[in-house]
């Protein structure tokens, strides 16, 4: 069994002191240990942003792609080798602005990867611009008189797109967060964990205090059953997505199990070359 230390690179962190991303990193490492993952069979695909540096701190195989394109890359990794534990991480801009299309299409394909969005409602790395999850009225360098756009609702979108595991965590609530990520990794198919992860430098509105005082923990609501898509939607509308916990969990058939002729030894472990009979048959049929 790996220990949390096994999942650390020891690289000095780049993040500002107090950044919510530290909590995400810690919870991710705990979850990896909890599911019994190994550094060598774990792949983290990360995007561009403060958040995107998370892979630098996790001792695992890391693929740091271009802005917004994590999920397709993760699809490729998982197809190459379904035995790998594939985590995807990135910011709210990476996920829901430039990456929005991939987000919804990945959901409907349902590959067995876990997507951890480090949602600080701001563009951190580029020094404080409005993000798609920024609230209306929020002031940043690109909305000095207040944001005039309605924020995206990632959880509702995921519900509508047919996601089979949807959760939201808060970077300070380590226990729950680590648990949600663990659960998400175990889920056979695409899992989304949107994490409210405060940016202490550029976002003075969505603070730890705000979250602590206003988040509703669905996991503690015994009446809430996260298996009904329409009911989940109503609840999210009602609480304006200010929740943590498992929002939806449903039956799931991961993508790679549905591809005709796919399976068995992972492609990444197969030797080059192919069966002569198959080759001859293909050529003969041209």
């Amino acid at each position: 069994m790996a220990t949390p230390a096994d999942f650390k690179t020891g690289e000095k962190s780049w993040w500002c002191p107090g950044c919510g991303d530290f909590g995400v990193l810690a919870a991710m490492q705990k979850a990896l240990v909890a599911v019994g993952a190994q550094p060598e069979t774990t792949v983290i695909v990360a995007g561009i942003g403060c958040s995107g540096k998370i892979g630098n701190y996790v001792n695992s195989y890391n693929l740091h792609v271009t802005h917004g394109r994590t999920l397709p890359a993760a699809m490729g990794v998982k197809l190459a080798n379904p035995k790998l534990t594939v985590l995807v991480a990135g910011g709210d801009g990476d996920a829901y602005a430039i990456g929005m299309g991939h987000f919804l299409h990945t959901i409907r394909r349902n590959p067995d990867v876990t997507y951890i969005v480090m949602d600080n409602h701001i563009y951190g790395l580029t020094k404080g611009q409005t993000s798609p999850t920024s609230a209306r009225g929020f002031r940043t360098h690109t909305s000095p008189s207040g944001n005039i756009e309605q924020p995206v609702r990632p959880l509702m979108l995921a519900l509508s797109a047919g996601a089979t595991y949807i959760a939201q965590g808060f970077s300070s609530w380590q226990g729950q967060l680590a648990h949600l990520i663990e659960d998400a990794i175990r889920h056979p198919g695409f899992s989304l964990v949107n994490v409210l992860s405060p940016c202490v430098t550029y976002n003075k509105e969505d603070t730890y205090d705000l979250y602590k005082s206003s988040l509703f923990n669905l996991d503690e609501d015994a009446t809430y059953q996260p298996g009904d898509r329409a009911a989940a939607f109503s609840r999210l509308v009602e609480l304006d997505e200010m929740v943590t916990g498992v929002i939806f969990r449903g039956d799931s058939e991961p993508y790679h199990t549905k591809i005709p002729g796919f399976g068995g030894v992972p492609l990444a472990e197969q030797p080059l070359g192919l069966d002569d009979g198959i080759w001859r048959e293909i050529v003969a049929n041209l």
Binding site: T41, N62, T66, P72, L79, A268, I278
Partner: protein, 584 residues
Amino acid sequence: MISWKIGGEQGEGIDSTGDMLAGALNAIGYYVYGYKTFASRIKGGHTTYKIRFSGQPVESAAIRTDLLVALDQNTIMLNIGEVPAGGCVLADTSFKPALPVGSEGISLVPVPLTEIAKRFGRPVMRNMAAVGASAAIFRLPLEPFMNEVKRRFARKGTEIVEANWNTVQEGYRYVQEHIADVPVLNLPNASPADRMVITGNTALALGALAGGCRIFCGYPITPATDIMETLIEWFPRVGGAVVQFEDELSSIMAAIGAGFAGVRAMTATSGPGLSLMQEAIGLASMAEIPVVVVDAQRAGPSTGMATKDEQSDLMALIYGGHGEGPRVVLAPSSVHEAFADGFEAFNLADSLQTPVLIASDLSLGLNTQGIDRASLQWRGLAVDASRRMSVDELGGLGQPGFERYRITHTGISPRSVPGQKFGQYLATGSEHNTFGKVTENPTNRQAMMDKRWRKLNDVHHMRPGLQVQGPMRAEIALVAIGATAGVVRDVQRQLAEEGRAVSAIWVRTLAPFPVELAQRAMAEADRVIVVEQNATGQLMTLLRQHGVADARFSSLLKYDGIPFTTEDVFVYLKTLRAPTGVTG
């Protein structure tokens, strides 16, 4: 060399008619070259399929049509200009065909194609009658057509096979009955061999399969789509995966993800998709991840003319991305080369750990050509050149661990893939040190840039940079790339028969550019004519930029969407021979 052409409305089965004739001619022992013209629409619109065949290799379009099969009067009006005196027009009687004035010397052979088709099945089968009738006019044996009918319709049941076969036979019989009225078209001698007729796209897909490609990620676009559609038929048999993504941004990124994880992966697109992939190609270059990208060029920019020919992405293939990362760009010019580059691309990508792009084009991708079956085999083609470390080696490294991007004199570093213990590292599009850690250290930066570019030094030892057909000391050297290379090779063959010292030179590797090879190949020619299908002379620009071109060089350009024909080149050569300096 004889050429046959069928024309009609789109959606009438023109394609399968042509494919059948091509298949039969090939079986008889001819070299064939088949190509279509079509409009960017689904149904309706004039479409044609032309087949040129000969006992010698033939690999280009030409204007002349010896036998024109017309399914409507429109076809006659639009194409009669290609038919020389002595040629023949086979037309369906149903539309009361007539040759326009000025068609002296051309015979009209009316055949009740629709009627025959109706007799054995539905009117759409009239193209089968046209196939039979064509065979009769050419005085070809009928047996090879039986195989073609079977191959094409076997899936649909014996009844359909029968109906079609009867229709073919009846078309044949009808012409034979009226054979007295039909002019004799002298066929060349066949040169039987074990050849098959395939498109460049199919050849490339086969090459990819042989080269170990097992993941294809793509998004439909003309004229690249059938690479995906072909692989999706084959991959289930070899356990591979084809995924149609939501766009080209995701397609290439998924292929890169697969490459990172150790599987040979590719995508195929055309210009608009290539433009969208530029950022990711830079990532693969920077993070040293193998990936293969096919660009089947078409007329641009933007949507341009989606179903028309052009070779205008050369610069974008080489220089399209921001920043500077090594890419290899291959340029096949025949089905043989498409097959070869199909597998070589994967070997190169793996051995150089960098993106390999294949510059294909609409003509190469969609046109059909004969290829020796013997040259199509998979054994030994996928060469494991991935510099993969073993887990033992990795484990033995000790602190500070695995130097994934170690600086070597070839520029190529050892690799690990996920799943390998002790091989963990960060692959990133940000500048990084030899361990993969992100750093902005200036010394490191320079060393890493040098290292990455160094990987291209050996490419010309690994594959043909360019090829030459004909003498070095040529009166005229014709330089081309892609499908246009087929045209200049055909021209060269014809002129060589006339005893002229002409050479055809085609660029096989566009990046890194084979500067020395080009210099050598073109040094002794009196004149060098760069024949390319674009408006700005991109290949010429490259030859100039690399110091190859000089005052002996001139450009023959075409950018109207229609591929070069041998006649285009001959006409141009004639203007050259006119004494210069004399006007009026």
